[in-house]
Symmetry: C2
Subunit: 427 residues, 2 copies
């Protein structure tokens, strides 16, 4: 399919999709087509463009030159002069931006409903949430409109919607993809992520977006017979998810992985710190003074969370940081020499009605298995498994290990690596 | 002098010294002598003990097994099971602990007067402050009682008293000397330091105390013709200090150093963040709940500072951290490729009466030139120059550069380094 054909197919799909709430700013067909034409000319001239004609959607807390950035709040909108480096690197590789996608306002939420641009609905069942905060990005990839979509992930925003929309969500190690040009949520933990329909496409995009900062000892592939830790006990899972997760573990064992049970408690304890502790003050530092001004268009739940964060004392943030370091030591001691940790991405997928009835409580429970990841500086890849979304979590800068093990789940051959390390071959 | 002779000389000096307030816990002559005897036996047996018979005083916020740790507050006292690694490494090298020294309570102060164990007086003029917070440590080294003394330095506590007592204070890069077994002041910035009468003794002690964590590219010596930055303008200096500092710069030029003027403003702006911003919350996190309990023996000024720190909002700490990162970029851009920065250690030496009259204001002004150092992750060596104490500040892990340049000021030959790098020879 040529870039022009891809663009026309996307707009045809868009017209059928019945999820207009996924977009905040959508470019028009003629200007997107014009870019496809220009791209074809560059390809004809022999330029190497690894993402030529791939259509990109960008979460609306990430800058794209020429389009407003709203972060899900119309009165917050500004017009960035330049695209975020994460976006620009994909565009430089031949991707074409379709538009900016809806999100839980200020990336505060895991549901996809906290937006004055509308609650984003699941692609299959409109009574269910899409997941968030990168709601629109996940939905437009799942619908086949975009090939790639940029998300962000502080507490799980790049993984939970991937799970619900049954696509791939790659959350690189903190610091690997630059966050310049991104509206901060919790600046110490924010990561730029990618949604894709295949793992290999997601990995390729992340490689293109990444800074060359890998430590010398970063593993470039999973070992031939990886050891994967799984929680000894799982809490809060719906019955169908509990059963599906058990099946996912068995499939992984069948694929040659050694499974080992570990205590998840220190991971879960850290997860609570992200929302119930001092770190939420970073959200106030980012957008609190704007929210305090009482502008129109503030989502009531998001506004309440951010205003409450103003009153967190600094000594709580200090002691939470110390507590986090201690929990991390304990958690990683339990992790031991395992190559990765397999977890449900989210414990259940709620209805929009359930979230409306209890907007804070349902959201908090959704982050049970994702919240700790950036607090501990880990990498993760969320992939669909039969009946559930699962995530493979690996150490910081062991992103390739997470992706290789995730490839065993989705049945993709791992992308070749450029080193002389042995490749993991899927039988 | 044998270890036994050294111990007897120290106790004789102690009896003459008239600065009993320098000590919080002093060991008795028989038990210290017994250690000297044991040490002599080990030496006679051929053991290599580079610090054999050196007498060590330890600031009373650093643990020594067998002695209480008070942090300058009698009701805070606890009895540590083990010595801090920084102490133990010196003892393992043959140093003998004489006792624990007075300090500004909880290491909160640069004056030496904030202690229920008494205001520590300058060794020459008892109307002047000793400087703090490592007041007793500096005084007992200046008096010749101890050869080495351990201090701590968050805002200048290991350098200001060195300046006033006209001795050497070595403040290593944050993270080089372990802070286990130290009562935290601001945990993110606390460093363990050494006082000595000669630079070579101070350097040797720091080397013994340090973890082997030097980055591969850490310089092991100053270049043959170092470039030293000095402030284009200096504020707050007493007249005699201003004149003496100018002389110190001239002497350094005469010793072959290239002097270059830079803007000090971004350094000074960062300095203000340490006391006037959010970081003070770390002091509350460390000892606030204890102070809130209303125990006896809290210094009124220290108590007020710590109680006030309870109310700092977390978002201020977050935005101060971001502001600090920005100031650091600006400051280091101005620093450029200079090898070090030469500064007055303190702007003036106040009387005890002046501090009593304005305990907060005078103390804050004393930290003008020392506060920024740990905020920026720098190393520093404070040395006496005629009429003033000066400090040579170098980049993080460039401790050897600071010490080599400081050696030019005090006229000591630099200690030999173990690498093949060229040595700086002082003519």
């Amino acid at each position: 399919m040529t870039p022009q054909e891809r663009v026309r197919a996307a707009f045809a799909q868009l017209a059928l999709s019945e999820r207009p709430e996924a977009w905040i700013t959508l470019r028009d067909l003629p200007s997107v087509l014009a870019e496809a034409v220009a791209l074809e000319a560059r390809l004809a001239a022999g330029e190497l463009l690894p993402l030529a004609g791939k259509l990109l959607a960008v979460k609306d807390n990430v800058d794209v030159a020429g389009l407003p950035t709203t972060a899900g709040c119309p009165t917050y909108a500004y017009h960035p002069e330049a695209s975020a480096p994460a976006v620009q690197r994909l565009v430089d590789a031949g991707a074409i931006v379709l538009g900016k996608t809806n999100l839980d306002q200020f990336a505060t939420g895991l549901v996809g409903t906290r937006s004055p641009y509308g609650a984003v609905r699941d692609v299959r069942d409109p009574s269910l949430v899409s997941g968030g905060s990168s709601s629109g990005s996940a939905v437009v990839v799942a619908l086949g409109i975009a090939d790639l979509a940029i998300g962000t992930d502080t507490a799980g925003s790049g993984r939970v919607p991937a799970a619900f929309q049954q696509i791939v969500g790659v959350k690189p190690t903190y610091g690997l993809v630059p966050t310049a040009g991104v509206v901060p949520a919790c600046r110490s933990f924010d990561c730029v992520t990618i949604f894709a329909r295949t793992l290999s496409e997601g990995r390729r995009a992340i490689r293109i977006m990444s800074d060359p900062v890998l430590p010398a000892d970063a593993p470039l592939a999973a070992p031939p017979r990886p050891v994967v830790a799984v929680p000894a006990t799982l809490t809060g899972l719906s019955d169908s998810y509990a059963e599906a997760f058990e099946q996912a573990v068995k499939s992984l064992e069948a694929a040659g992985v050694v499974v080992r049970a570990i205590r998840l408690e220190p991971f879960l304890a850290a997860a609570k710190l992200l929302y119930e502790g001092g770190f939420v003050a970073e959200r106030y530092a980012a957008v609190g003074p704007f929210v305090d001004g009482g502008p129109d268009g503030i989502d009531p739940t998001v506004g309440a969370i951010i205003r409450k964060a103003r009153d967190v004392p600094a000594h709580v943030l200090v002691s939470d940081s110390e507590c986090l370091a201690e929990l991390r030591r304990e958690a990683m001691a339990g992790w031991g020499d395992a190559d990765a940790l397999l977890l449900p991405t989210a414990p259940f997928q709620p209805t929009i009605a359930a979230v409306t009835a209890d907007p804070i409580g349902v959201n908090a429970r959704l982050g049970t298995y994702t919240n700790f990841c950036n607090l501990f500086g880990l990498s993760a890849v969320a992939v669909p498994a039969p009946g559930i979304g699962v995530q493979v979590v690996a150490r910081g800068f062991a992103d390739a290990v997470a992706a290789d093990i995730a490839a065993l789940i989705v049945g993709e051959t791992p992308a070749p690596v450029s080193s002389g390390l042995p490749l993991l071959v899927v039988g």
